[in-house]
């Protein structure tokens, strides 16, 4: 099995969800998203972020606003639309279900493993 591939598949699956959850907290500038994710030890390239944001915007989940900056031209800040909030709620629900399910499964496995270890010892 290609572990790297699976890893990247898993990460890819939650990527949009992570971004949405950051934007859901309030108006945000794309490079701030990158920073926040880096803090959470998730690395994303800006080159991948921008297309993703544009896709979500075109899907109607996001909207943007031009905010004047102190220096230079105005900057694009992203906010979540009502539609986006609804979608996020659904995703959050799914995520919670999944984490419990995955936790349960992985827990069980490690428990049984521990049990068997104990049995051996």
């Amino acid at each position: 099995m290609d572990i790297q591939n699976t890893q990247s598949q898993m990460r890819k699956g939650v990527l949009e969800f992570c971004i949405l959850s950051i934007i859901q907290q309030g108006e945000v500038y794309p490079s701030d998203i990158v920073e926040k994710m880096k803090l959470a030890n998730l690395h994303i390239l800006e080159g991948t972020l921008y297309p993703l944001l544009t896709r979500l915007k075109n899907a109607g989940l996001l909207n943007y606003r031009w905010v004047e900056s102190i220096s230079g031209p105005p900057r694009k800040y992203f906010v979540m639309t009502e539609e986006g909030k609804a979608a996020f709620a659904v995703l959050l629900q799914t995520w919670k279900e999944m984490t419990t399910a995955v936790d349960q499964l992985t827990q069980e496995k490690t428990n049984t493993a521990e049990n068997s270890n104990q049995a051996v010892s």
Binding site: Q4, Q7, S8, R11, K12, L15, P30, S31, L42, H43, I44, L45, E46, G47, T48, Y50, P51, L52, L53, T54, R55, K57, N58, S71, G72, P73, R75, K76
Partner: protein, 779 residues
């Protein structure tokens, strides 16, 4: 020292180094290509541009004077290159993952030598198969030869020498490789590397044309038309194929003929098989790659040429040192011998440099040994290559010839199984292996995997089928020719047989097509679509028994059965028309598509009475064989061949044999002992101008010329006398001048001398002219 320019980038004024600007431009171009099929492409790129501008400004605020290439590289790395997007799908798994897995030594070497940053992405993939690159480190001109040498792990100069041997065709090949093969030090800005792919998004058949157009950055329809025009033209009229023929290559198709002919189809098929599809977006990026415009080509070549002149200089100075060295001392010469090794091969230089200081002699022996092994290796490779190439070329020649002959097949091959087996033989027996071999070779060079087992085994199966076809076709065609007719001699009545002189010639104003490429004998010319004319005719000249010319012909043909052969022979329609002394031959034996060519042929016998003359001109029917065995006497009389069956023996006899070479355009006279040569046509006159026939033209006006001769002789005497007088005068004057010479100015002497010399020269010239005229007459 770098030029700094100011750019207005997304509403910000940025001072930026020119080099950095170029990198930035290429990066954005690569993004444009990457996001080509994305819905909000312009918006995404705009956002990224904004971000780059912002980051640049941050740097300027921190106190940087201007944006350097280094800064741009860092910014681009933080945003990510298209190749990174593809590989990581959004997440940087770890910073170490982007680190370049070094491959084999060659690539590592390249990495060390070029500015590391640029190369970082290029060798990202650790499992990359062996591929052909131009070698920037060992190049002389464009690095093509050393790249090939690297590929085969041999010395570069072997390849160079082979290359020089094959000069001519390969100049074009070199240029193509120079442009198309990626260099080891290619700049990887934004991960743009150029490769030829098939573009499946825009395909019509296989996406080859679309891929090519992407590669060269031109419109698709241009490539399509280039592929189609020659093909259409071929279908319409394949005889114009030699339009682009530069030199006379009678049976070998030259390069342009392949390019601008049905070869286009062949090339298309090969490319289709060889080129991978552009599946991932990284592939699509590579497909477009760096822009190939005039400017970039110019830049590449300029850079390379600069390097070339430097290398040439260093080579020159090396040579100079060596010459000096041989004059001076032993030690110097030895070290310089190694100097020559340097010019050939830098690797050798590095390794021998280590040896040099310690063991001079050992290094020298090593060098000699190296040369010997390399020579042997090179020789073997050379022979193998020659054999392989010539085999392929022969196969290709057969293929082209057979394909070109296909329009004529209806005149030879029966419909049904025979036709299908013929087409099968051409396609499967000839073209399938060609395509297979060429494809395999290109795949190998391009570093692609071998075609999978199914492709390979189906190729082999098709070829076996080709063998079956060719055997069936051979035997079936042989069967069609197996029997021959029962010949019967027919007399042709001449309107005026008592004439003194007969000239056999082709009908006037008749076109005879000559094709340099294929001599499809016996198919010489073809007048219209339904009939071709073959000129299978032999002429026997014999002695007539009476005083009139007689002509008899025998029609012969092969066929499946005797009956069939008889029918075909009877259908031969051959006209012979007489106009005064001229006998016009028909244009040929007409072959139509129903009756086919079954080796129809005619033997024509002409009986010439004693004392009368005959000539066969060399117009048109140049292929006609003429038989006058034993000067027309061995055959004796017109009735010599008593049994009709013997005509086939007569036909099969080697005619035009050594006993008496008959020449066309020469007039012959029939004597009791046989034919005798009389007079030649003007074409043959030049060789023997002065003898026999030509001399008696002169006799008529000999008296005039003798008078002229006399006059000329007198003139010559007079001029000789003049010259003598002039010379004497000159001598006398010279004597007197010797005395006066001190008084006279030098200029005067020169002038007067010049005048005198001119006079003498003129006289001498006239004299020699006269002498020449006299010589001609006296001879």
């Amino acid at each position: 020292m770098n030029k700094v320019i100011n750019i207005n980038f997304q509403g910000r004024i940025l001072p930026i180094e020119e080099q950095a600007y170029e990198i930035l431009k290429q990066y954005i171009e690569s993004l444009r290509v990457y996001f080509e099929n994305e819905e909000g492409r312009d918006e995404i790129i705009n956002d990224i541009e904004c971000r780059i501008a912002e980051l640049c400004e941050d740097r300027l605020k921190k106190g940087t004077v201007c944006i350097a290439a280094n800064d741009i590289d860092l910014i681009i790395t933080s945003i990510g290159r298209p190749a990174d997007f593809e590989a990581q799908d959004g997440f940087e798994q770890s910073t170490a993952a982007t680190a370049h897995n070094s491959n084999d030594g060659r690539q590592q070497n390249a990495q060390q030598n070029t500015s590391g940053n640029n190369n970082s992405n290029f060798y990202r993939d650790g499992n990359r198969p062996k591929r052909l690159y131009r070698d920037e480190q060992n190049k002389v001109l464009g690095g093509v030869c050393s790249g090939i040498a690297n590929y085969f792990v041999i010395e570069p100069w072997i390849v160079r020498i082979l290359w020089i041997f094959l000069i001519g065709v390969n100049i074009l090949a070199y240029l193509i490789l120079w442009i198309a093969v990626p260099s080891t030090s290619i700049k990887e800005v934004g991960g743009v590397r150029k490769r030829l792919f098939r573009d499946i998004d825009k395909k019509v058949i296989g996406g080859v044309a679309a891929g090519l157009s992407k590669y060269f950055g031109i419109q698709v329809w241009i490539v399509r038309i280039l592929f189609l025009i020659p093909f259409i033209r071929f279908v319409v009229n394949f005889r114009h194929m030699h339009l682009f023929q530069f030199w006379d290559a009678p049976d070998f198709p030259n390069f342009l003929d392949i390019t601008f002919s049905p070869g286009a189809v062949f090339i298309y098929i090969v490319l289709w098989l060889v080129l991978p599809e552009a599946k991932t977006s990284a592939d699509k990026l590579e497909m477009v790659g760096e822009k190939v415009d005039l400017n970039s080509i110019k830049n590449t070549i300029q850079n390379d040429m600069e390097g070339f002149s430097k290398r040439a200089q260093s080579w020159g100075s090396d040579l100079y040192n060596r010459n000096k060295g041989t004059n001076n001392s032993n030690e110097a010469s030895e070290s310089n011998l190694e100097g020559t090794a340097t010019t050939h091969n830098q690797d050798a230089n590095k390794s021998s440099e280590n040896h040099r200081s310690t063991e001079n002699r050992k290094g020298f022996l090593y060098f000699i040994g190296r040369i010997i092994t390399v020579c042997i290796k090179g020789f073997v490779y050379f022979i193998l290559a020659i054999v392989g190439i010539s085999l392929l070329a022969a196969l290709f020649g057969i293929g082209v010839a057979a394909t070109a002959l296909l329009p004529l097949k209806n005149f030879l091959i029966e419909d049904g199984a025979q036709t299908w087996s013929a087409i099968g033989a051409i396609l499967l027996f000839v073209w399938v292996p060609i395509i297979g071999i060429v494809t395999a070779v290109i795949r190998k060079f391009a570093g692609l995997k071998k075609a999978n087992i199914w492709v390979r085994s189906s190729f082999i199966a098709l070829w076996v089928l080709g063998w079956v076809c060719i055997f069936y076709f051979g035997s079936s065609l042989g069967n069609s020719f197996s029997r021959h007719n029962l010949p019967a001699e027919q007399s042709i009545a001449l309107t005026n047989p008592k004439i003194d002189y007969v000239e056999i010639t082709a009908a006037p104003k008749m076109k005879y097509y000559e094709n340099n490429w294929f001599q499809f004998e016996p198919f010489q010319g073809f007048a219209d679509e339904d009939t071709v004319y073959v000129r299978n005719l032999r002429i026997r000249i014999v002695q007539s028994l009476n005083d009139s010319f007689q002509v008899k012909i025998v029609k012969l043909s092969n066929g499946k059965t005797v009956q069939n052969a008889n029918d075909l022979a009877n259908k031969i329609n051959f006209e012979l028309t007489q106009q005064d002394s001229l006998l016009y031959l028909d244009r040929g034996i007409g072959i139509n598509k129903i009756d086919k060519f079954r080796n129809q042929h005619i033997i024509m016998t002409i009986a010439v009475p004693i004392g009368k003359r005959i000539k066969i001109t060399n117009k048109g029917w140049s292929q006609t064989n003429v038989n006058i065995n034993g000067r027309g006497m061995r055959t004796g009389t017109i009735d010599r061949i008593s049994s009709d069956e013997n005509w086939y023996d007569e036909w099969n006899e080697p005619w035009d044999n050594e006993s008496y070479q008959y020449e066309r355009g020469v007039e012959y006279k029939m004597t009791k002992t046989g034919l005798e040569e009389l007079r030649r046509d003007r074409d043959f006159k030049t060789m023997e101008d002065s003898d026999g026939s030509s001399s008696y033209d002169k006799q008529e006006d000999m008296s005039d010329k003798e008078i002229q001769l006399q006059k000329l002789k007198e003139e010559r005497e007079a001029i000789k006398n003049d010259i003598k007088k002039l010379k004497e005068e000159e001598l006398q004057k010279e004597k007197t001048r010797v005395v006066k010479v001190n008084d006279l100015k030098k200029d005067d002497i020169g002038n007067s001398n010049l005048e005198k010399m001119n006079k003498i020269g003129k006289a001498a010239g006239k004299l020699s002219d006269l002498q020449w005229v006299l010589d001609r007459f006296t001879h």
